[in-house]
């Protein structure tokens, strides 16, 4: 498959992309027709560059250069609309993306296989409790701290008179008289 005239023109000006430049260069080594075309375009370009100093003073070369490049790109885009579709090359289109995606998948798979066994403690704790946002709780079952699923509870005998009190510095207290010993037992659970 020959290189197009537009590709040869851009190649002669050193304005082709990396992969396209490699492909055109390889083709020129094998194709005498395209080689001659390229030589002609390169010669024209050299001639133009050589006569650049002869241009009238009021010509703005930078602006002209920009407009020419824009026209070339516009021509290439317009050509795509009518050109016969080309078979994809090895390094353009979806294949590089597929190769990269496969490589990433392999890395992710390796990480998944060799990841630490078991969830991190924080997640493990959260998985067990409903994790309310309340920190300290007092109920018939006892008093305790529930810090996002992390639980510490001091229990008290349910069949005994238990009194609760909260301290707004961050503590909950329960008090009961032990039925066996007759001793007052006071339990405290603290936020900090």
């Amino acid at each position: 498959m020959h290189a197009t005239r537009y590709e040869l023109a851009l190649y002669a000006g050193g304005e082709l992309g990396f992969w396209a430049r490699r492909r055109v260069r390889g083709h020129l080594r094998q194709c005498a027709d395209c080689g001659r075309e390229h030589q002609a375009l390169a010669g024209m370009r050299a001639g133009l560059l050589g006569s650049a100093n002869d241009l009238p003073q009021d010509i703005e070369w930078d602006r002209l250069s920009s407009e020419m490049k824009a026209n070339i790109h516009l021509g290439l885009a317009a050509g795509e609309c009518v050109a016969v579709s080309q078979p994809p090359t090895h390094f353009t289109g979806w294949r590089p993306a597929l190769i990269m995606a496969s490589a990433i998948a392999v890395v992710l798979l390796a990480y998944w296989v060799y990841r630490p066994v078991g969830p991190p403690p924080e997640i493990a704790r959260k998985g067990i409790s409903s994790a309310p946002d309340f920190l300290l709780e007092a109920s018939a079952a006892g008093i305790g701290l529930n810090d996002h699923g992390r639980v510490l509870t001091i229990k008290h005998p349910i069949d005994q008179d238990v009194t609760f009190s909260v301290s707004l510095e961050g503590a909950v207290r329960s008090r009961y008289v032990d039925a066996e010993t007759g001793q007052v037992t006071i339990n405290n659970v603290y936020v900090q």
């Binding site: 510490l152 509870t153 037992t185 603290y190 936020v191 900090q192």
Partner: protein, 371 residues
């Protein structure tokens, strides 16, 4: 069991029930008392403590009864043990206190510890729970211990309240006789049993759902002899949730104040008042100086007798004050008459009424006439 004062006890807690796993022998409880502690561990009965896997965590149920001996030469009035659960910071800290003791030198006494701990199922070695001594209060009000939990102050306040109540009941008995004292004990039982059961949740910071929140006045009772005076404030309540407001407190005494505790009473929509909690604060108040207490907690009340609670009003009173020299002020019983129906019986009243229930009125009288 060794009576060494430094007694690391490693105990294997064997789970017997179905679904419970035997503990690794290194996964256990660690009890440490300082070398010079006035108490020694005589024995530790771990009862039916068990470890149950819960997903990737483990649930540790400890039912422990420690027997401690007074190895000092002073009578012990109170003990506080610090219970620290590893890897549970922040939080994971608890304490068990036993006030109103009367343990003479060489005598032993029990301390029960019923603890449930949920912790990640890690392969780390070491104890699951560490128990240490935070403080011991003696009958001369001297104190021993690291006092990490400020247990000196708390046990001192409990002891002062206990002495106040015992003196009151002793005078009451001497003035009114046995039957009147018996009726007092029955009344305490009635106050305990008539209390409504209510779950309490305490959380830090502002609520994210402030729907229906409205302001209520937070007024204060004036108690005779109170060394500090709180200024009225405005609190915010929302249905069964209350946020205590900032409160300005002025030192009216001629001594430096270093600790203030305010009692907090709530009234529901039916007009029933109940003790919601306390607002303790470490302060540094010179005579005449004023400071602002800025609590950052909110209180949520569960259903009361199965019915949702609607908070309608709140008021407070000065509950405790500690001066810079370590002495404390507590309100006398007469001053608390205005809130008697709302506040709970003191722990000493509760203990004596329980003694009456178990052993009769004569045991209470013997307790009251003790020196």
């Amino acid at each position: 069991m060794s009576m060494s004062n430094k007694l690391p006890i490693l105990v294997l807690v064997v789970a017997a029930a179905a679904g419970q796993n035997a503990l690794n022998s290194r996964s256990n409880m660690h009890i440490t008392l300082p070398e010079d502690a006035p108490l020694a561990v005589v024995s530790a009965d771990w009862g039916e403590s068990a470890l149950t896997p819960r997903g990737s965590a483990m649930l540790l149920d400890l039912h422990t009864s420690l027997t401690l001996r007074n190895v000092g030469n002073r009578r012990v009035r109170g003990v506080t043990l610090l219970v620290m659960a590893q890897e549970a910071a922040p939080g994971g800290k608890a304490s068990v206190s036993v006030p109103s003791l009367g343990v003479g030198p060489g005598e032993v006494f029990p301390v029960r510890l019923d603890l449930r701990l949920l912790r990640p199922n890690t392969d780390k070695d070491g104890p699951l729970v560490e128990v240490s001594l935070d403080g011991v209060l003696f009958d001369d009000l001297s104190f021993y211990g690291p006092n990490r939990l400020n247990s000196r102050r708390q046990m001192m306040l409990w002891e002062m309240e206990a002495r106040r109540d015992r003196q009151y009941l002793k005078r009451f008995y001497e003035t009114n006789g046995v039957e009147a004292l018996r009726q007092q004990m029955v009344n305490v039982q009635a106050r305990l049993s008539e209390r409504s059961r209510m779950d309490i949740q305490l959380a830090r910071g502002r609520t994210t759902n402030a729907e229906g929140e409205h302001a209520v006045q937070f007024a204060f009772l004036r108690l005779p002899g109170e060394p500090v005076t709180p200024s009225p404030a405005t609190g915010m309540v929302s249905s069964a949730e209350a946020r205590i407001p900032q409160v300005d407190v002025t030192n009216r005494a001629n001594r430096q104040v270093r600790f203030v505790e305010l009692g907090w009473l709530l009234t529901d929509a039916q007009g029933q008042e109940f003790y919601a909690g306390s607002l303790p604060a470490d302060v540094d108040l010179a005579p005449g100086a004023r400071t602002r207490l800025q609590p950052d907690m909110r209180l949520k009340l569960g259903p009361r007798d199965g019915k949702p609670v609607q908070i309608a009003a709140m008021r407070g009173f000065v509950n405790h004050v500690e001066f810079a020299d370590g002495s404390v002020w507590i309100p006398d019983r007469g001053a608390l008459a205005a809130v008697k129906s709302a506040i709970q019986p003191s722990h000493e009243e509760q203990r004596l009424s329980n003694l009456y229930r178990r052993k009769g009125i004569q045991s209470v009288i013997e307790e009251l006439v003790k020196p």
